[in-house]
Symmetry: C2
Subunit: 185 residues, 2 copies
């Protein structure tokens, strides 16, 4: 299969960005290719189009599956495995949030909780423990936020995104309403 220059550069760009996104170059390319492809692709097609070894494609697809970023399907009358990305880009974004939270937030949150629990009484280094406490609280809040996001249905999400500018006004309202309860910090 052959890619037009525009698609080619999109695929290559995703490859380069891959490392920043926590996947490697070839996995990034593979994802981009699948994202742009109307029809599901099998490993050989990917391997051929991107000039990657078949085994590399196999490993890359495993990783994309671990990220839940691609789905596997079989085409009637063909025993090869075919892969595709969700049609709805919002779904993709939600998966990304979920998976990145799992990889980038949860392990640290878990360590912090354990550390802070095990040291209930006044610790040797109050400053450091207070610091960890603050980080823990912030991460808990972010985690709670992302839980809420992930629970939302598609339409609510669309609205949260589209009405970003409104949020600020709503927060302003809230500020008036709860200004007395927040005189601490």
């Amino acid at each position: 299969m052959n890619l037009s220059p525009d698609l080619q550069s999109f695929v290559l760009h995703f490859g380069e960005m891959g490392s920043r996104w926590g996947i490697n170059r070839t996995v990034g390319q593979m994802y981009a290719l699948l994202f742009l492809s109307e029809d599901p692709l099998n490993a050989d097609q990917i391997s051929e189009t991107l000039n990657l070894s078949r085994s590399n494609v196999s490993m890359g697809l495993k990783e994309l599956q671990a990220w839940q970023l691609v789905k596997l399907q079989h085409l009637p009358g063909d025993r090869k495995e075919y892969f595709s990305t969700p049609e709805d880009t919002l779904d993709i974004a939600m998966t990304l949030i979920q998976e990145r939270r799992k990889r980038e937030l949860d392990p640290t949150l878990s360590l912090l909780r354990d550390t802070l629990l095990d040291s209930q009484e006044t610790p040797a280094n109050p400053y450091a423990y207070n610091r960890m406490q603050e980080m823990c609280e912030l991460m808990e809040q972010v985690a709670k936020w992302s839980d809420k996001l992930l629970q939302m249905d598609r339409d609510s999400l669309q609205k949260v995104l589209k009405l970003a500018n409104v949020t600020q006004k709503l927060v302003g309202l809230k500020a008036n309403w709860s200004s007395k309860a927040n005189a601490n910090s």
Copy 2:
């Protein structure tokens, strides 16, 4: 300088997480150490505490400065450079959002805009271009969202975070309010 077991494991954990966060192990450790330290530290102290070469610390501090995650200061009567992290964890979180957006979103957004602009008329592969269009729109919305976040003052941010559970209700309200205007898509 010597770290207690808890602080030690926090520092080591940050080191391991570093690679997932787009920094390397030693930079992660350096950041953790600075985060937990009440007083600013100089490069020699970091180097000694973490058993890293002085040159490695120098490079690491440069990277942390590029991320705007540490600030440099001089102590009176000492010509060494001292580094510390912001006291407010919310500030830190905002910086992180800003810097990650710059590194992980903006380059792709820019490529997509250019590609889509250069191909105004109906392209050879309508599906792929439509796909890019969708990704571009989503990324624009996320970018706009993060702009709004970054413009907010500290207190509003606190509220946005703390009232995550309320947001859903507000969206529900919005849904009623604008349900007729959103019959598209």
